[in-house]
């Protein structure tokens, strides 16, 4: 069985193969030679997963929310997503500003073609009883506006694109 996981700025492929005793798990990352581990499943109870990895006991807590996986060791949790095949919608970084929480668009302050300075307010959202300003991450030009005042937006929905 093979799984692919992505996070903020990376991704990996994990291959799981049964062995005589336990599993062989091979991890391939784009920037590295694949590494193989001997793994046995000691116990899985609800969110708690106990493995031995190369004979060292390890305790994890795992959860799923739709397509997202959360895996924690000690108190450090990692969020894993399915890899996005087109690499798009990588939010903020490429100038495409997305809503990161549900809310209502109170006002759109810019139009396509308009030049904006870093920090200029672009859209005002209302959420959690607060006004939130979505501001330009850098100097640039508004190339697209995807919402208008009154729209209800969901997390991940694109609002404005600045290049």
């Amino acid at each position: 069985m093979e799984f692919r996981y992505a996070w903020n700025d990376g991704e990996a492929t994990v291959r799981v193969e049964p062995e005589a005793e336990g599993l062989r798990v091979t991890i391939s990352r784009p920037d590295r030679e694949p590494v193989t581990y001997r793994v046995t499943v000691v116990r899985r109870e609800g969110e708690r997963l106990v493995l031995t990895i190369e004979d060292r006991p390890r305790v994890f807590r795992v959860a799923r929310d739709g397509k997202t996986r959360w895996v924690a060791q000690d108190a450090r949790a990692f969020r894993l997503e399915p890899p996005n095949p087109r690499g798009a919608q990588r939010s903020a970084a490429d100038g495409s500003l997305t809503a990161v929480m549900p809310g209502k668009v109170l006002d759109v302050l810019v139009q396509p073609g308009q030049r904006v300075g870093a920090g200029a307010p672009l859209v005002i959202l209302e959420a959690m009883k607060m006004e939130l300003r979505i501001t330009a991450p850098s100097d640039g030009e508004v190339v697209a506006v995807f919402v208008r005042a009154g729209d209800v937006v969901n997390p991940g929905q694109r609002l404005v694109e600045v290049r």
């Binding site: 969110e47 060791q73 990692f78 894993l80 903020a92 929480m101 549900p102 939130l132």
Partner: protein, 507 residues
């Protein structure tokens, strides 16, 4: 014999849980009220009784004063505890509760009107000779005239200037304006937000004091004219005027300054015949001058740090005072031991301009140990919604001195697991590990000054995490829906047959 027959807790989340627990320890039954979003919430299930009061938006539930009062009467309550936020500083509600013959656990409506609004309280303090931040409150009532009046006053006071909502706090309706050209736009935005949050759009102006500390004093006042202060809390660590880390004692206060500021806080309470718990907020300028800021006529979010160092349970004290008991301590009997710090855990994304996050808390493990207290209304499986304050927990650490308390907080943050919802924990860690924080060099612009460009570290999951993810995916995440189970065959069957190899004995 008991203090009250039954108390209705007119709030939700961690503070409702805190109050219900205190009542249960005092042997007083409780009634929780809840919105449809909170039907399975901790405060709902913890209380002895729970009544749904409406849909999720606060205006339709937790702010429904009449409904809540009606529930209190129907359920035979003789007191209402408002917590903080929602109706806590609504003098009309306090008056209505009293008029219905119930006890409002808090100050009287009259004291609330005198001290609760920021504008009247400034006047009271000016009259009592306590210094206030230079400011201006509008005389005109017509919005357009107010706008002109405030614009003019802003020039007289000098920029940068602060716009503040007269009702409420938490940074809502607050704006700092550095450029006179932006004044009108910011004023309108502030008024809109204030109206939205507090149902009152009144704002006023204050001169900006650069680099101040936020120092507040907890007071308790009984019905017999006796007022004590329980020392200060330094709440200088703020982001967008929202307190995030509070501590006591303040690294900046000498015993002499503490005594003077405490006396001013007590004088403020006495000036209006204040009763119950309240907090007097000051700005402490780098030159050592302090200025009255406002009084919060309610329990404060950060009350646990005062409890940790004084050993006094403020919620129980509130209930006892409201029941007519005299304060059992003279001022000299109030002593402070050790150092306490509170960090507020918010559902917000430090990587995306701290915007509130929503989702479901999937994994939750709170730090425990000596000197660690977590106040929360969240349990694993709860949804963090859009309707309410994004604060999901308060982490309070107490230790023998400040250095130990800071290290304990650092430890506790590193051992606080919340997965499913992004939180500000990495940001809190960055503050607590900052050399300026270690040195106690605090000011309300600490975050802008030291962490303006801070970004959460982007961590690649180690191989072990990926191994665990894949093994979990091989096994699946279990539990089918009832519909699926039913569809797969409606025959009566024995659940035990599913269990590993178990066989019922014959006979």
């Amino acid at each position: 014999m008991t203090l009250f027959r039954k108390i209705l807790v007119a709030n939700r989340g961690e503070i409702a849980v805190r109050i219900i627990r205190a009542c249960q320890e005092l042997g007083i039954p409780t009634v929780a009220v809840y919105s449809e979003a909170d039907a399975a919430a901790l405060h709902t299930t913890l209380a002895d009784e729970a009544v749904c009061i409406g849909p999720p938006p606060p205006l339709q539930s937790y702010l429904q004063a009449e409904t809540i009062l009606a529930v209190a009467r129907e359920r035979g309550c003789d007191a209402i505890h408002p917590g903080y936020g929602f109706l806590a500083e609504n003098a009309d509600f306090a008056a209505a509760v009293a008029a219905a013959g119930l006890t409002f656990i808090g100050p009287t409506a009259a004291a609330m009107r005198a001290m609760g609004g920021k504008i009247p309280s400034r006047q009271v303090m000016e009259a009592a000779g306590v210094p206030v931040v230079p400011g201006y409150h509008p005389v005109a009532t017509d919005p357009a005239a107010q706008k002109a009046e405030l614009a003019e006053a802003s020039v007289r006071l000098g920029y940068p200037i602060r716009i503040k909502a007269s009702a409420g706090g938490g940074g809502k309706g607050m704006r700092v304006v550095a450029d006179p050209d932006r004044f009108i736009a910011e004023l309108e935005s502030a008024r809109r937000e204030a109206q939205n949050a507090f149902g009152n759009s009144t704002v006023y102006l204050e001169k900006l004091i650069p680099g101040p500390r936020h120092i507040e004093f907890q007071i308790l006042a009984d019905h017999y004219g006796h007022v004590v202060h329980l020392g200060e809390r330094e709440c200088s660590i703020q982001r967008r005027h929202q307190k995030i880390i509070e501590e006591t004692p303040s690294p900046a206060l000498t015993p002499e300054l503490r005594a003077r500021m405490g006396a001013a806080a007590v004088a403020a309470a006495q000036a209006v015949g204040y009763t119950n718990a309240g907090t007097v907020e000051f700005l402490l300028a780098p030159d050592g001058h302090f200025y009255f800021l406002e009084m919060n006529t309610r329990l404060q979010v950060e009350h646990p740090i005062t409890e940790a160092v004084t050993g006094i349970d403020l919620v129980k004290a509130q209930i006892r005072i409201a029941a007519g008991e005299p304060l059992p301590w003279r001022q000299e009997a109030i002593t402070w031991r050790g150092h306490a710090i509170e960090a507020r855990i918010y559902a917000e994304d430090p990587a995306h301009r701290f915007l509130p996050t929503t989702g479901r808390v999937l994994l939750l493990s709170e730090p425990v140990g000596p000197g660690i207290r977590v106040d929360t209304g969240i349990t694993a499986g709860d949804a963090i919604g859009l309707y309410y304050d994004p604060m999901i927990a308060k982490l309070i650490c107490w230790a023998e001195d400040r250095a130990d308390a800071v290290r304990k907080l650092d430890w506790a943050l590193a051992h606080y697991l919340i997965a499913g919802v992004t939180t500000n924990i990495p940001f809190l860690q960055a503050i607590v590990r900052h050399p300026a924080y270690h040195q106690g060099m605090l000011s309300t612009d600490f975050v802008e000054r030291h962490l303006a460009d801070w970004q959460p570290p982007s961590l690649s999951p180690p191989d072990e995490i990926l191994i665990a993810a894949a093994v979990a995916d091989v096994q699946g995440y279990g539990v089918i829906s009832v519909a699926e189970a039913m569809a797969s065959g409606g025959e009566p069957y024995n659940p035990w047959a599913m269990a590993d190899g178990f066989r019922l004995g014959g006979g």
